[in-house]
């Protein structure tokens, strides 16, 4: 009897335990919903005016002493609260807001989760294996603030694409190491997303079997020492995931740029080497993130979603009125009167920054910014950026300021020597959008980024590298060899010996809705490479494209040969600049040259010539209903009219009169004015370059490690330590996150 009774009790206990566990399951439980969720918050938000927030109230969070350098690292994605705005502001808020702003962030290794996540510090030549775990809650607080639009082509874990209701399921995420030379299996392809409950996109892959809500990636770190960053890259939701905080730095070190105070380059190190992740954000009166999604929460610049009948919540670009650096609004940094090295990334959704230093008290010009490195590594010599006050740029005319589009990085040195007691503001004067936006008002809070306070005592003689001396950073003893030049920045031409195998001529366009654009397009082609017939069969791939072999259902037009060199010419037919990023490779800017695109001048434009080539037909578009609303539908386009999403007007693989692929009319008959060589900060290796409107922007691209000599690789020869021709493939895209989320991204895969 005892035995029976005992077993009965044991069974009851186990049953109770199992019942509780079952009900804790976020996918099937119904008893503990309030237990699983954070404290309930409402979605209505009242915007907090950025200009009302005290600036320079809290110190800059830095990563020195908490960078993670292990060969194998776990990186989790979490939701948590963090003080982003001044501490005093939270103290006055009710619970739960007084505990900070809800953000998503990476927990890198043993470091606490934070926005941005702790920096990964990799060693050149030693692989880093990262296990990314999507541990975001199934019912995250932020999902109620960041409305997920399901009408754009996105990850769609619950197969609800096209629904006009906000997504309420598990958040898909995938991580891309921006600028990394790595296998596409570890590149964070947009379709490689995975959710907290283990759903996968069709491009998902993992180095070794792992938990369903995780993926294991490996980075060989074969490239030169530089400043990379990793961030979310899930299809159609990147803008929200990065906005929420999923971003962090990834530094590659080598035997020269060691990060130690005894580094052979004598670059400032230790407490004098500081990462700056610059991002704009908007907040509500509860100190929570505000992402414009409706007339109730309009955008500061674009207004509420302009075409709600097409995309109810998506906006063309997000621009916030609060500048955050390392997850803090307008922080300050106390410095010694000596040289500092700053590793800067513009990690904003859409905002460009043109920066200089100004004395906080007198507004007089501050010390110059010395740029010593770009996206892909050190420059041969430092470039002086005096940071002069200039009229707003409307074209790629040279600037004396540090000019960064989203995702561009700069490695700079500021010399505070002799400035004890002074304060300097890092200023910004880039209009939004760039360059078509109006100049920033004198009172615009986004004119300042952060403040440097030269208040610390000099801790010892400063014997670090002095950029003012102009000494080379490469090519000497204990230095990296000089940059392998694919393009000559002094002439704006290809470097001697560089023979591109193919030239591609590609246009950047936008699908224009009644109010504002409803999508951006690369070569007028959507993500899938299918001519859009609003869901009506048959699907017609863009002529000249090939279907991917990974089962993602996408058609690729850019299929370069590994080891080959090509010239990609981007003609931007839109009003604004687009930072174009190509995965896998570092490349170089050859030059820019103007092309008329403005129809108001009366002069022949390339845009008109290009549009005239379209044959007409019935394809997807928007229709204006009798009540004035707009909705998707089939539209009969007459011949000679641009058809959004049709692809180029001609077969992609048929060379045009310039001998270029891409399916577009030749650019050369429309070229105007001089060839403009790269600006001072663009003369090195780049993985993201600003493509200015009304200009052909020419890149020289090569599918080989960046250190390989000009003639050190032949087409068909793979010099990477991995096979770049397999896997889900790579992408190239506009790095305005709101654009890349809505069709302004194309897949590509090198072939043999």
């Amino acid at each position: 009897m005892t035995t029976r009774r005992t077993f009965l009790k044991l069974g009851t206990a186990v049953g109770a335990g199992a019942l509780i566990r079952w009900q804790l399951d976020p996918t099937s439980g119904f008893l503990f919903n309030t237990v699983r969720a954070f404290a309930s918050v409402g979605t209505p938000q009242t915007a907090l005016v950025g200009g009302s927030i005290p600036r320079f109230a809290d110190p800059l969070p830095t990563f020195g002493g908490r960078r993670i350098g292990d060969a194998s690292i776990d990186v989790g994605m979490f939701e948590f609260q963090q003080n982003v705005l001044p501490n005093a502001l939270y103290a006055a808020l009710p619970a739960p807001f007084n505990a900070g702003t809800y953000v998503w962030g990476y927990q890198v290794g043993t470091a606490a989760p934070s926005w941005p996540g702790a920096t990964i510090e990799a060693q050149r030549g030693r692989a880093t294996t990262v296990t990314y775990v999507n541990s975001l809650p199934l019912d995250p607080v932020l999902r109620r603030y960041l409305t997920i639009d399901q009408t754009i082509h996105w990850a769609d874990p619950l197969n609800q694409m096209g629904s006009f209701s906000p997504f309420t399921g598990p958040i898909p995420a995938v991580v891309h190491l921006h600028g990394g030379e790595d296998s596409s299996l570890s590149d964070g392809a947009p379709e490689a997303w995975f959710t907290p409950d283990g759903r996968h996109g069709r491009g998902y892959s993992t180095l070794v079997a792992t938990a369903p809500n995780a993926a294991v990636y490996q980075y060989p770190n074969g490239q030169q020492a530089t400043t990379l960053w990793f961030h979310d890259h899930a299809l159609g939701i990147t803008r929200l995931n990065v906005f929420a905080g999923l971003a962090a730095f990834y530094l590659i070190r080598d035997e020269f740029d060691t990060g130690g105070s005894d580094n052979p380059l004598r670059l400032p190190a230790g407490p004098q080497e500081i990462e700056l992740m610059i991002q704009d954000r908007q907040f509500d009166t509860n100190g929570q993130l505000l992402f414009p999604d409706s007339p109730a929460n309009p955008s500061l610049v674009d207004g509420p979603p302009g075409n709600p009948g097409l995309h109810p919540y998506w906006i063309p670009e997000f621009f916030g009125d609060v500048i955050c650096v390392n997850g803090r609004s307008w922080p300050y940094l106390e410095v010694e009167p000596r040289r500092y090295r700053f590793r800067i990334v513009n990690a904003s959704n859409a905002r460009f920054f043109r920066m200089g230093l100004a004395d906080s008290a007198s507004s007089a010009q501050g010390p110059p910014l010395w740029q010593i490195g770009t996206d892909g590594g050190l420059l041969d010599r430092p470039a002086k950026l005096p940071g002069l006050v200039e009229p707003p740029a409307t074209d790629p005319s040279p600037t004396t300021r540090l000019f960064l589009a989203p995702s561009e990085r700069a490695d700079i040195i500021i010399d505070f020597t002799g400035a004890s007691g002074r304060r300097f503001t890092l200023t910004n004067d880039a209009q939004v959008p760039f360059p078509s936006g109006t100049p920033l008002a004198a009172t615009d809070p986004t004119r300042s980024v952060m403040e440097f306070r030269v208040t610390l005592a000099l801790s010892g003689n400063d014997t670090t590298y002095d950029p003012a001396g102009g000494a080379p950073l490469r090519g000497g003893a204990s230095q990296e060899p000089i940059i392998v030049r694919l393009a000559d920045p002094s002439t704006g031409r290809l470097a001697p010996g560089v023979s591109p195998r193919i030239t591609r001529q590609i246009v950047l366009v936008e699908g224009e809705g009644p109010i504002n654009p409803f999508e951006g397009l690369l070569n007028n082609t959507k993500w899938r490479g299918i001519r859009d017939r609003a869901g009506n069969p048959p699907d017609i791939p863009v002529p000249g494209s090939s279907q991917d072999t990974f089962g993602q259902g996408i058609w690729m037009t850019e299929l370069p040969q590994v080891g080959s060199t090509e010239v990609w010419e981007f003609l931007n037919l839109t009003d604004d600049a687009h930072p174009i990023h190509i995965h896998l490779i570092q490349f170089q800017l050859i030059n820019r040259q103007a092309v008329p695109i403005d129809p108001t001048t009366g002069a022949p434009t390339y845009t008109a010539a290009w549009a005239s080539q379209f044959p007409g037909g019935t394809f997807a578009g928007y229709t204006v209903n009798p009540d004035g609303s707009v909705s998707w539908g089939l539209v009969n386009y007459p011949p000679g009219t641009m058809i959004p999403g049709y692809g180029p007007p001609h077969d992609y693989l048929t060379p045009n009169a310039d001998g270029a692929l891409g399916g577009n009319p030749a650019f050369s008959p429309f070229l105007q004015g001089p060839v403009l060589p790269p600006m001072a900060g663009e003369e090195g290796w780049k993985d993201t370059i600003k493509v200015f409107p009304g200009f052909v922007n020419r890149f020289v691209v090569r599918w080989a490690p960046q250190a390989v000599a000009v003639n050190g690789v032949q087409p068909g020869q793979n010099l990477y330590p991995f096979d770049p021709t397999t896997g889900p493939g790579y992408v190239w895209h506009c790095h305005i996150l709101d654009h890349e989320d809505n069709e302004m991204m194309r897949p590509y895969l090198p072939g043999v």
Binding site: G17, P26, S72, F78, V133, P137
Partner: protein
């Protein structure tokens, strides 16, 4: 149906006036399982998750403890038997400590396969998805794919289990001392009388 003698207050007493061996085993198992699992969970859950979802964590701990109860009961039962056979008494403090150590050791060993079951339960119920939670939710290096990773997993589980005893063992000792007498599992006159 049998009724026990009335107690002084006149209410009916039952055969449960004194706990049976089974009841004692269960109570001891609870005393062992609850703190052991609590400590394991505390050590494996980052403080941000603990702070963000305290009730979720409490329910998770309670459910895990109940699910581990059979293992703890088996540890108590086997530990008591072995201790008796080794001649350990139930009144001498040193003997009690030895008895508790035996129980804790067996429970720790049983928690190794228990960890695999726990991981399966986590997978089945998407614990990793419900919130940012346990760091010991399956990670590839702890997968049971090959002998080496299996050994690593077992080692990790054993380490966890022993760590957990830092909470379980002292309470088990206290329970044995306070409750008197882990006692023989069978054959005492008292229990035989009560169960007759």
């Amino acid at each position: 149906m049998r009724f026990g003698p009335c107690n002084p207050s006149g209410t009916r007493a039952s055969t449960r006036l004194a706990p049976s061996n089974g009841d004692r085993t269960l109570r001891l198992a609870l005393v062992l399982a609850l703190p052991t699992i609590a400590l394991e969970q505390f050590l494996h859950t980052d403080r941000w998750t603990l702070a963000a979802l305290p009730l979720y964590q409490a329910l998770h701990w309670f459910s895990d403890s109940l699910l581990a109860l059979p293992l703890a009961a088996a540890g108590v039962w086997a530990g008591q038997r072995i201790a008796t056979r080794l001649g350990l008494g139930d009144s001498n403090p040193l003997d009690v400590v030895g008895r508790a150590c035996l129980i804790a050791l067996l429970f720790a060993l049983l928690l190794v396969p228990g960890a695999a079951l726990h991981e399966a339960a986590d997978r089945l119920t998407h614990v990793h998805a419900g919130s940012a939670t346990h760091s010991h939710v399956p990670l590839p290096r702890r997968s049971t794919g090959g002998p080496r990773s299996l050994a690593r997993f077992a080692g990790h589980a054993l380490s966890d289990a022993f760590t957990g005893q830092a909470a379980g063992l002292p309470l088990t000792i206290l329970a044995l001392l306070w409750g008197g007498h882990g006692g023989p599992l069978r054959g005492t006159a008292a229990t035989k009388t009560l169960e007759a």
